[in-house]
C-alpha cells in the first residue's frame, strides 16, 4: 500500500471533511495528521476502498474531536480561506453557519457526490435522517443567502 500516493490523492477530501466538522483550519489539519497516521498503522485496505476508509476514519476522528472539551478560539473561518469571489465567500460563510450535522451532509452530498444511503452508512444515521438534514439545510441556506443578497434565483437547485 503506497500511503504517500493515497495521501496525495485524498488529502484534500480528508481535510475538507474535517474542516466541515471543526470549522477550524488548525484543528482540521491536526485531524488529517491523525487520520493518515492511522492509515500508516493499518495493515492493509482493500484496493479501491481507500477513500471510503479515510472518510470513515475522518468522520470518527472529527466526532471524537467535537466530543472533547477543548475547542480552539480561532479567527472567523471565512477570513482564513482565500476564496476568490464575493459570492463564494458568502456561500462558504452560510454553509459554515449550518449546524454540524447539516453542514457535513451538505458537503458529502453536493461536493463528494455520495448518495443519501452512502452518507447514512458513513455517518451512522438513517437514510431518512440524511434526507431530512439535506432538506432543512437547503431551506436554511436559501433563506440566509437570499437575505444576504446572494442570487439564489439562478441556482435552481436551492
Amino acid at each position: 500500500m503506497d500511503v504517500t500516493a493515497i495521501f496525495m490523492e485524498y488529502k484534500d477530501s480528508v481535510f475538507r471533511l474535517a474542516l466541515n466538522y471543526t470549522r477550524s483550519i488548525p484543528d482540521a489539519e491536526d485531524i488529517c495528521q491523525t487520520v493518515f497516521l492511522k492509515l500508516l498503522r493499518q495493515p492493509s485496505i482493500k484496493p479501491g476502498c481507500e477513500k471510503a476508509w479515510l472518510m470513515q476514519v475522518t468522520a470518527n476522528e472529527s466526532r471524537n474531536f467535537l466530543r472533547s472539551f477543548w475547542r480552539r478560539n480561532v479567527e472567523p473561518l471565512e477570513d482564513m480561506i482565500p476564496l476568490q469571489e464575493t459570492k463564494d465567500r458568502e456561500l462558504f460563510k452560510q454553509v459554515m453557519q449550518l449546524k454540524t450535522g447539516y453542514r457535513v451532509v451538505v458537503y458529502l452530498y453536493y461536493y463528494e457526490g455520495y448518495s443519501t444511503e452512502e452518507i447514512g452508512k458513513l455517518l451512522k444515521i438513517s437514510k431518512t435522517a440524511v434526507t431530512t438534514r439535506l432538506q432543512r439545510a437547503r431551506q436554511q441556506l436559501k433563506k440566509e443567502l437570499e437575505e444576504s443578497g446572494y442570487e439564489t434565483a439562478n441556482e435552481g437547485a436551492f
Binding site: 484534500d12 481535510f15 475538507r16 495528521q33 472539551f69 436551492f158
Partner: protein, 221 residues
C-alpha cells in the same frame, strides 16, 4: 447548488505546510517500516483535540506554565472564549523515549515504572484501568486507560505534592471508561469530561456545556 459547492470547495485545500508535514511523517515512517516511534506525531496531532482543564486561579497570573507528564511536557496556555470565560489548553511535547504504550501482535503494553504491563485483557469499554505512580518531587501521575488493545485511549492527570490536581490531557478518550475513571479519581473536571463524552448525540451541545463549565470555574477563581 452542486456546481456552486463544487466551485467553492475546490478552493478549500490543505495548506502546503500541513501537506509537507504529513508527507514527511509518512515518508519517514515508511523508511523505518515500523510504527512504534510515532508517539510524537500522535500526540502532536491530538493536541488540539485535547483539553487540560486547570484551576484558573493557579495559572491565570502567569499565562503559561509547564507541567511534566509521563507522556511528555505540557505547556499551559490561557485564552478567552467568545462568552468571556477563561479557557486553558495543553500543548504536548513528547519524544519517542516517552512512549507510554507499545502495541505488538494485537497486544497492548504500558511502559510502567516497574517494567511493561500487559493491558490486553484488562481493558474495557466501560471500566477504566487506572495506573498511578509518584515522582521524586511528590507529584503523582494517574493514567486512566480504556477501550481495547487495538483501539485504546487514555488520559493522564497530575496531582502535586500537596494533593492539588494540576491538569491533564487525553488521547482518544471518549468511552464510558473515561467518565468512570474521572469519577473514581474525583477529578475536578469530571463533570466536563462527562459532558464531553456524552456529547456524542449533539456535538454542539457538548461545546455549549463546556463553555458553561468554564464560566463557572472562572467565577469561582
Amino acid at each position: 447548488m452542486k456546481q456552486q459547492m463544487k466551485a467553492l470547495f475546490d478552493q478549500v485545500t490543505m495548506s502546503e505546510e500541513c501537506e509537507m508535514r504529513i508527507e514527511k511523517m509518512l515518508r519517514e515512517n515508511g523508511k523505518k517500516k515500523h510504527f512504534g516511534v510515532k508517539r510524537k506525531a500522535v500526540i502532536a496531532a491530538v493536541a488540539a483535540a485535547v483539553l487540560c482543564a486547570l484551576p484558573i486561579t493557579a495559572y491565570a497570573a502567569t499565562g503559561g506554565e509547564i507541567l511534566r507528564f509521563l507522556g511528555g511536557k505540557g505547556t499551559i496556555y490561557h485564552g478567552s472564549a467568545e462568552n468571556g470565560s477563561v479557557i486553558a489548553k495543553v500543548e504536548m511535547e513528547t519524544s519517542p523515549e516517552n512512549d507510554l504504550f507499545r502495541q505488538e501482535n494485537g497486544k497492548l503494553y504500558l511502559m510502567g515504572s516497574g517494567g511493561e504491563i500487559d493491558l490486553t485483557d484488562q481493558l474495557s469499554e466501560t471500566e477504566p484501568y487506572i495506573y498511578s505512580c509518584a515522582a521524586a518531587d511528590g507529584t503523582v501521575h494517574y493514567l486512566i486507560i480504556g477501550g481495547s488493545a487495538e483501539n485504546y485511549g487514555y488520559a493522564e492527570f497530575v496531582k502535586d505534592a500537596d494533593g492539588v490536581w494540576q491538569g491533564g490531557y487525553s488521547y482518544n478518550a471518549v468511552g464510558e471508561w473515561y467518565k468512570q475513571g474521572a469519577r473514581e479519581l474525583e477529578l475536578p473536571w469530571a463533570g466536563m469530561i462527562e459532558n464531553a463524552v456524552d456529547g456524542a448525540d449533539d456535538e454542539n451541545a457538548a461545546v455549549s456545556a463546556t463553555s458553561e463549565e468554564w464560566t463557572s470555574i472562572d467565577s469561582e477563581g
